[in-house]
């Protein structure tokens, strides 16, 4: 079993982050108010940000060790990162977006064919040759998931991927993600503000507040249902 071990410290301006957590394969929800440092943790794991000190390892594979001077660049870490804004490439079609992260050993046609399969699996096969500016919110979301999972990731990072979706769509996509993550068997960090979403998907919960871990456990450590981490600031 490959465990993602994170032990990092970072100071930016007045904000100090000191986080230590382990994520086993399956979904670990990071839960906490805005400004708790949840997105920063994902940026550090992906390599898009660098901690002042610390160590990040996936099993025996050390991705970062500031003391030892080890740092693996972002593009060699193989993390599937679904951004809050999705960040679909506006100049590429759904197929080209999806194929972007596939290893380039395979010929172009083979990659495109696999991208089409994946899009179909996410029920957006009909969008294959269209560009993102024509997608609805839910469609864009599905294409973003297809793109992220096309790369055979070793770790999955999801930053409030479904915050803009309505209830029904959100539940459906949570089901899809749960299934894929189970198939992949890789550690997954999932940020959400939404208690219902956290309860649905979490195998483990890490509570974050002001840059620190304030609790680790099962879904039972989440605050009262229907509340949100911001105290009800977001619609359900």
């Amino acid at each position: 079993m490959t465990v993602l071990d994170v032990d990092v410290a970072l100071r930016t301006g007045a904000f100090t982050l000191e986080v230590r957590l382990s994520a086993t394969p399956g979904v670990t929800v990071l839960f906490g108010p805005s400004g708790a440092g949840k997105s920063t943790v994902l940026a550090l794991v992906s390599g898009l940000a660098r901690p002042d000190r610390g160590r990040i390892a996936l099993g025996d594979d050390v991705w970062l060790d500031r003391a030892a001077g080890v740092e693996r660049p972002v593009h060699l870490r193989k993390v599937a990162y679904v951004f809050q804004s999705l960040a679909l490439f506006p100049h590429l079609t759904a197929v080209e977006n999806t194929a972007y992260g596939m290893g380039r050993e395979a010929p172009r046609e083979a990659r495109a064919a696999r991208a089409r399969e994946l899009l179909a699996r996410f029920h957006v096969g009909h969008l294959a040759d269209r560009r993102p500016d024509t997608f609805s919110g839910g469609e864009a979301q599905r294409v973003a998931l297809a793109r992220a999972f096309a790369m055979a990731p070793r770790v999955v990072l999801m930053d409030e991927p479904f915050s803009a979706l309505d209830h029904g769509l959100r539940r459906e996509l949570l089901g899809v993600v749960t299934e894929i993550v189970k198939d992949l068997g890789v550690p997954t960090l999932f940020i959400t503000h939404h208690v219902g979403e956290a309860e649905t998907i979490a195998e483990r919960v890490v509570l974050l507040e002001k840059g620190r871990v304030t609790g680790v456990g099962g879904a039972d450590i989440l605050p009262e249902r229907r509340a949100t981490a911001d105290g009800g600031g977001r619609p359900p």
Binding site: H75, A87, H91, G101, M151
Partner: protein, 221 residues
């Protein structure tokens, strides 16, 4: 009417824009994407041609590229002709004028691409160079084309630096701007009219196109 100077101007401006594009877009990329010591100094150096008097700029180029300079001597040994007072010198003079536009506007275009697209590309396995060429440059393409058009318009009209570095040699370095000056000086205004008209139309067209390109880019985002 002699259209030779105009053809020469187009040829020199095209080569100058190509040269300035290679140098200027590389510098623009560095300034936009890499934090390095001396970044502000590089920025100032590549903006300087915009504000330095052409004579001063020409003087510096003569010092760096002249027959007794290291570069000038090496060039002459390899090619058999000098840089200064040749078409090569005129191309370099025009390119230097175009550089500030290409660096400034190219940098702005690259910096205008939302960083999250680059982040997405990197997490999807793209090296920094692949992310640059497959995501950042395509998304900045309108702004980059606008920068190159401004650079081209600027090099098409260069006068002072060209005169200092390349002289006013008919058929070799006498571009349209220089021919206009010569015609006016000799009180043969009739010869200047056509060249004045073409340069005016070319410059205004380039500005208009630049405005269109950069405006549409804003609404896309």
């Amino acid at each position: 009417m002699d259209l030779g100077p105009l053809a020469l101007s187009l040829q020199i401006a095209t080569l100058a824009t190509l040269l300035a594009a290679v140098v200027g877009l590389s510098v623009a990329t560095l300034l936009a994407n890499v934090r390095f010591p001396g970044r502000d100094i590089v920025d100032v150096l590549f903006t300087a041609p915009l504000v330095l008097p052409p004579t001063v700029l020409g003087y510096f180029l003569l010092v760096v590229l002249g027959r007794r300079s290291f570069i000038g001597e090496l060039f002459e040994r390899v090619t058999g002709h000098t840089i200064v007072f040749t078409r090569t010198g005129a191309v370099i003079a025009a390119a230097v004028g175009a550089l500030p536009f290409i660096v400034r506007f190219g940098r702005a275009a690259l910096e205008g691409v939302d960083a999250v697209y680059m982040h997405a590309a990197r997490t999807l396995g793209a090296s920094p160079l692949r992310a640059l060429f497959t995501v950042q440059v395509p998304l900045a393409r309108r702004g980059i084309v606008a920068a190159l058009m401004l650079g081209f318009a600027r090099s098409l009209g260069d006068f002072g630096v060209t005169l200092m570095v390349a002289g006013d040699i008919p058929g070799e370095t006498r571009t349209a701007s220089l021919a206009i000056y010569g015609a006016i000086q000799a009180q043969r205004e009739g010869e200047a009219y056509a060249l004045v008209a073409v340069l005016t139309v070319a410059s205004l067209t380039a500005l208009y196109a630049v405005g269109k390109l950069t405006r549409r880019e804003r609404t896309v985002r």
